[in-house]
């Protein structure tokens, strides 16, 4: 991997207010050169605001941004030398693909023959060499976004900023371009900040994920850490814990907790992730961690983490089905199984205590 052009990007206490509303509140982040960092969160969490602040397109209300020790938060966007890729591509519709990619090189007053070579090589990197003379409107969405990437990488920017670059594409193109992005990052070693609301994009692309909630970062970690050890119910919801069951504490001992579900009709044992003070709790479980049994083949009903339920909705998904089942007290459980079940079937649902995380509800 080539050596990155920067060693360290430091974001400290960045706050951005729009009127009375705080879009970002004391946001801190350090990014090492060559790293791929994803900012993940729901819409309105401040992730795009952070990216625009980094690009210089929005002024900060407070805080500092520095690159290898030099403050850059006062610089206009054109003097930061960051590449940016927009959700809606933002290509120049009146310029050919070649002129689009050459735009930044012209602005930087690079010599003519060098521009030509660098544009060619950037277009080859995004596999669009044969489209150089076309106009953006003649290209598909995926091709347009690849032009936008070529336009950014041709400048060999210190930092490349991507604002939901795959959101406007259909599912198939999205996965294709995701692989392309990862390949480009590996080949060029570009320090990348990537904004997305799609956890699978963040997990597959990033070296590190920052999860934002209401303008603050709630967890920073490797994809694996964030996925297996979410810091709270909010992150868990983002990381595929589709079952967030309201619960009350029954007892807790040595990192394990037993909670009551459905007004005390059921109990569930899991790993205690509360601070020990919370009243309202949730038990977080992934659908794929729930095991379904037909009622006849049920394990000991009094056993560990066994819940009887009735199948309510079945969605066919190829080699397995997604099941929505109803247990005592109207408790809804989302599970996946290879069993052939039908709505109305009596089943029992079992989950290993190590796969249940107990959080405070507002965590």
């Amino acid at each position: 991997m080539p050596t990155p052009k920067v060693e360290r990007l430091r974001i400290e206490g960045v706050t951005k207010a729009f009127g009375n509303r705080l879009a970002l509140e004391g946001f801190d982040l350090e990014v090492a050169g060559g790293e791929f960092v994803a900012l993940l969160g729901p819409s309105g969490c401040g992730k795009s605001t952070m990216l625009n602040c980094l690009a210089g397109l929005l002024p900060l209300s407070a805080g500092t941004i520095s690159l290898d020790g030099k403050r850059i938060d006062g610089l206009p966007p054109e003097r930061r030398g960051f590449g940016m890729v927009f959700q809606n591509y933002a290509l120049f519709p009146h310029l050919s693909v070649r002129r689009n990619v050459a735009f930044g090189l012209h602005a930087a007053k690079v010599a003519k023959h060098e521009i030509h070579d660098r544009v060619d090589s950037a277009l080859r990197q995004v596999r669009l060499a044969e489209y150089a003379d076309q106009y953006p409107s003649q290209l598909s969405g995926g091709q347009q976004q690849r032009v936008a990437m070529a336009r950014a990488i041709v400048l060999e920017p210190a930092l490349i900023l991507m604002d939901e670059p795959l959101s406007n594409l259909d599912a198939k193109l999205r996965t294709e371009l995701r692989t392309e992005l990862r390949r480009l990052h590996q080949e060029l070693g570009l320090t990348t900040i990537y904004v997305t609301h799609d956890q699978s994009e963040a997990l597959s692309l990033a070296d590190r994920i920052v999860i934002l909630r209401q303008g603050r970062s709630v967890q920073v970690g490797t994809p694996e850490a964030v996925y297996t050890e979410p810091a709270g119910a909010f992150v868990a919801a983002f990381m595929g814990y589709r079952n967030l069951l309201p619960a009350q504490m029954k007892q807790t001992r040595g990192g394990d907790a037993t909670v009551l579900l459905a007004d005390g009709q059921l109990s569930l044992r899991g790993r205690d992730r509360t601070d020990g003070h919370a009243e309202a709790l949730v038990a977080a479980v992934r659908p794929e961690d729930l095991t379904l049994h037909e009622a006849a083949a049920a394990p000991d009903p009094g056993g560990d983490n066994v819940i009887p339920a009735t199948v309510a909705v079945v969605e066919y998904q190829g080699n397995e089905v997604a099941v929505s089942a109803e247990a005592a007290g109207g408790l809804r459980l989302q599970a996946r199984t290879t069993l052939r079940v039908r709505p109305g079937d009596q089943i029992t649902v079992q989950v290993s205590p190590s796969r249940v995380l107990i959080f405070a509800e507002d965590s």
Partner: protein
């Protein structure tokens, strides 16, 4: 079974009119345009062709082109073309040139944007006569502006700002600018603001961004605004009479046509002048639109987003 049988049928056994028209690619709503087409035919195309025919039937005889020969051989008449162009071209150009940076700024969030737009657009509601009246009151020899200049000792005698070229030009700016701004603003607001932001992140400063991104993308709107501003200014009549010098420097072509029609009652000659007027306008419009089609005029945003 034919495919058509699957479509809904009216009781008479025929498919509804809308469906039958749709087969031929006609939307019934388009029929709403028919009255407008009829009006244009009756009130524009027919009179235009009638006038064109009339212009080739000179009152004094002398062949079909006699009126045209007479107009172009008479220096006083012929000069109305250049006098009108001297007013209309700079006025249209200035209106558009001032509108472009304002429209460019008004695309972005700006404090007091609505108020500013209203103030700038409002003069479009003023009639030409009202503007001419105002100009005389304000800029005339006894008007406030000249009185103030004299009182302040800036000039010895009042400046002559009305009853000449300046007066008409000012009136064309006051009535033409809001129109040009409206047209350019309408077009500019459809341009994806991210293109300019992208240009900034690619290292282009404000000047470069304007000339390489915003201006080319605004150009289709600018050329249409220029054409309409020019046509409106070229037909100037009331202000040329009221705040101009209608027998001298601002004897515009419409005055020549008016005099032929209603002072000499030579409708044939008046039609000839009207045709010459239309021809000059067409030449300018053709030149502008021709230049525009050589430049980009496609979508104003990059993609489907």
């Amino acid at each position: 079974m034919s495919r058509a049988a699957a479509l809904p049928r009216s009781p008479a056994g025929r498919r509804p009119l809308a469906a039958r028209l749709a087969v031929h690619g006609v939307d019934r709503v388009v029929l709403l345009a028919l009255p407008a087409v009829a009006v244009i035919g009756l009130l524009f195309i027919y009179p235009f062709l009638y006038g064109l025919g009339l212009s080739f039937q000179p009152r004094q005889g002398g062949g079909v082109l006699a009126n045209y020969l007479a107009f172009f051989s008479d220096g006083y008449e012929r000069s109305t073309i250049s006098k009108t162009l001297r007013l209309a071209l700079p006025a249209a150009l200035l209106n558009v040139a001032v509108s472009v940076p304002i429209a460019h700024k008004l695309r972005h969030p700006l404090r007091g944007k609505r108020l500013l737009t209203t103030v700038l657009i409002l003069p479009v509601t003023l009639g030409t006569v009202l503007v001419a009246q105002g100009l005389i009151r304000y800029f005339g020899p006894g008007g406030w502006f000249n009185q103030a200049l004299v009182a302040l000792g800036l000039v010895d005698a009042p400046l002559s700002l009305t009853n000449n070229y300046i007066g008409v030009f000012a009136s064309l700016i006051i009535t033409g600018f809001p129109l040009a701004l409206l047209l350019i603003l309408g077009h500019a607001s459809g341009i994806d603001p991210d293109t300019e932001r992208a240009a900034a992140t690619l290292g282009a400063g404000p000047t470069r961004r304007f000339w390489t991104v915003s201006f080319p993308l605004m150009l289709p709107g600018i050329s249409i605004a220029f054409v309409l501003a020019f046509v409106a200014a070229f037909a100037v009549f009331p202000s040329a009479v009221m705040v101009g010098n209608p027998s001298g420097s601002t004897r515009v072509i419409s005055i020549a046509a008016y005099q032929a029609a209603f002072e000499r009652f030579d409708y044939s000659m008046a039609s000839t002048i009207a045709m010459i007027m239309a021809a000059v306008e067409l030449v300018v419009i053709g030149a502008v639109l021709g230049a525009r089609s050589r430049l980009y005029r496609g979508a104003t945003s990059g993609g489907k987003g």
